[in-house]
Amino acid sequence: MSNPTPPVGPGLPETQTMVSDTVTAPAPHRQGKHKQAKGGKPASLWTDAWYDLRRRPMFILSVVIILILLVMSFWPQLFTSVDPFNARTCDLSTARQGPSAGHLFGRDNLGCDVYARTIYGARNSIVIGVLTTIITTLVGGLFGIVAGYKSGLVDSVSSRLTEVFFAIPPILGALLIAATFRGRANSILLVIIALAVLGWPMTYRIMRAAVITAKSQDFVVAARALGAGAGRIMFRHLLPNSVAPVIVVATINLGGFIAAEAALSFLGVGVLSPDISWGLMIADARDRFLEAPLPLIFPAVFLCVTVLAFIMMGDAVRDALDPKLR
């Protein structure tokens, strides 16, 4: 690697570098500096990506939104003094009242404060989104790395298995699972399980494809030739080199899971009252939506912004990791 390349003389195979390629490549001085500083390839990929990300307004915006959402889900009291779980804060006689000084977003069908409920709704969305993502990434990633590395029987069996899951429409599948076991388990746990069961094959596919690509690279072949064990090759060599696309998809999926949770709750098989969820709030407000749209609009806006933040972050990370896609 560090030896100077031999001079290109006649007859020596010319490395195919079109000038247009050099033009699109990232600035060489920057890359060079990080390579010297950090050495190995993955490190420089991540350092480069991080350097790039810090300069992207989209990334910074999404990080700020996600941080606010995290604070909101851990300490909703910081944002509102109204406790939406206390029935006495609701007043039926004020149902569907518009926004006022004390109740910024107005009141819903039961006369409860829409603002406080919207703030408290963040927790379930974030918890469900994050946990589902962790589970699908671990399960799909683990299966993916093993299937990609082992190939042969293990690969074909697990690949057929994921095809089975892909054939089932995800929302319908989750709806069935959630409806079947409704009342048998904690409703939030049930949503996570339903979404994870249908979500992991996506991560599996991406991990497997990335591992298969990484597997044929010289340093992996070399490691194998030097007698490294399967576990070492998979987790020391293949994982760091194929984890990037998985992280991108995980971030984007997190947004998707939050939207799916809202859909399930809307259909009545997700988060159940008295727990609060934006999907549930939308469902509650839908009957009077045409006359009083605000109790539906506010949770909807929070839902959109949350999903947007995660998808924006995923987009930015992908662009930073793969400059060619820009």
């Binding site: 057929r160 429409p169 929302i171 319908l172 709806l175 409806a179 259909l267 999903v307």
Partner: protein, 314 residues
């Protein structure tokens, strides 16, 4: 070509069996006794209940029940009857048509808008138009169907009618003909439009960097012919794949849209049947959707071979 089709069909069988078995197991794990539910508040005569259980194979092991079911579907096109003895295929037929109409409307919109916007963005790569289109795809992806549905229903369905007096996008029901599918079709297609736009943009941009595009320019062809014939023809391949695979997704994802727009489609029926614990109907619907998914993918594979001559001889 014939061998290719047969191979793909054979490969589809385990997927079909696996997916339906999975659904079968989930659905029949539904708690409660469907026979008891059938009689509502009345307590059924144990003897009659037993006869019914026998008739519906409810006493047999799950795998055997599954076999009775799937062999009926595959060999006789018989989806069974619900517990009120109405054939499931009869329950599904009309609803299926509505969902298919909805999904096809969505697919058409997706193809027209998505490919159109994507081409536009690719040809203006790096310019303001491109950035605008990319930003709007980001928004379209991020706003869940749940939200687009209600907001567009309010704005285009209700408010527009109030302002203009003309019912351009009829809101509920299917009685206004194809126009009643426009709004829900767009809502259903929303995310897919955005993904297809992005895919078209990257696919065409990537194709335009290919060596054979440079060759086409060197042949003295006009820019229009270079992009329109040489570029688009190659860029089309992944788009067709995406569109074909998306038909299944659209039909399967229609439940939210159908609920919001009160369309009596297959998603709504499934939802109702889940609550009524009509397992045969639930399994029937999902089986049909799995079949649609598999067939759509098969068609895509064949189209792929037509569009890309390199595939055929592999």
């Amino acid at each position: 070509m014939g061998r290719y089709v047969i191979r793909r069909l054979i490969q589809a069988i385990p997927v079909l069996l696996g997916a339906t078995l999975l659904i079968f197991c989930i659905v029949f794990a539904l708690p409660g006794d469907p026979i008891a539910a059938l009689f509502g508040d009345k307590r059924p005569d144990p003897a009659i209940a037993e006869v019914l259980r026998e008739q519906y194979h409810l006493n047999d092991p799950l795998l055997l029940q599954y076999w009775y079911y799937i062999s009926g579907v595959l060999f006789r096109g018989d989806f069974g009857v619900n517990f009120a003895d109405i054939p499931v295929s009869q329950i599904m037929a009309g609803k299926f048509q509505i969902t298919l109409n909805l999904a096809l409307t969505a697919l058409t919109m997706e193809a027209v808008i998505g490919v159109g916007l994507g081409l536009w963005a690719a040809l203006r790569r790096g310019k303001a138009t491109d950035t605008m289109i990319l930003a709007s795809t980001l928004l379209l992806i991020s706003v869940p169907t749940l939200v687009t549905g209600f907001v567009l229903q309010l704005l285009l369905g209700v408010k527009l009618k109030q302002w203009t007096g003309a019912d351009i996008f009829p809101v509920a029901g299917t009685f206004a003909g194809w126009r009643s599918y426009l709004l829900p079709g767009f809502v259903l297609a929303g995310t897919s439009i955005a993904y297809l736009t992005r895919l078209t943009r990257t696919s065409l941009a990537e194709t335009l960097r290919a060596d054979y595009i440079r060759t086409a320019t060197a042949k003295g062809l006009s820019r229009r012919r270079v992009v329109g014939r040489h570029g688009l023809r190659n860029a089309l391949i992944p788009l067709v794949t995406y569109l074909g695979a998306d038909l299944g997704n659209l039909m399967g994802g229609a439940v939210i849209t159908e609920t919001i727009f009160n369309l009596q489609g297959i998603g709504n029926q499934l939802f109702t049947s889940v609550y009524l614990r009509e397992q045969p109907v639930v399994v029937g619907i999902v089986t049909v959707l799995v079949l649609v998914y598999i067939l759509a993918n098969l068609v895509v594979d064949l189209l792929y071979a037509v569009l890309d001559p390199r595939i055929r001889y592999e």
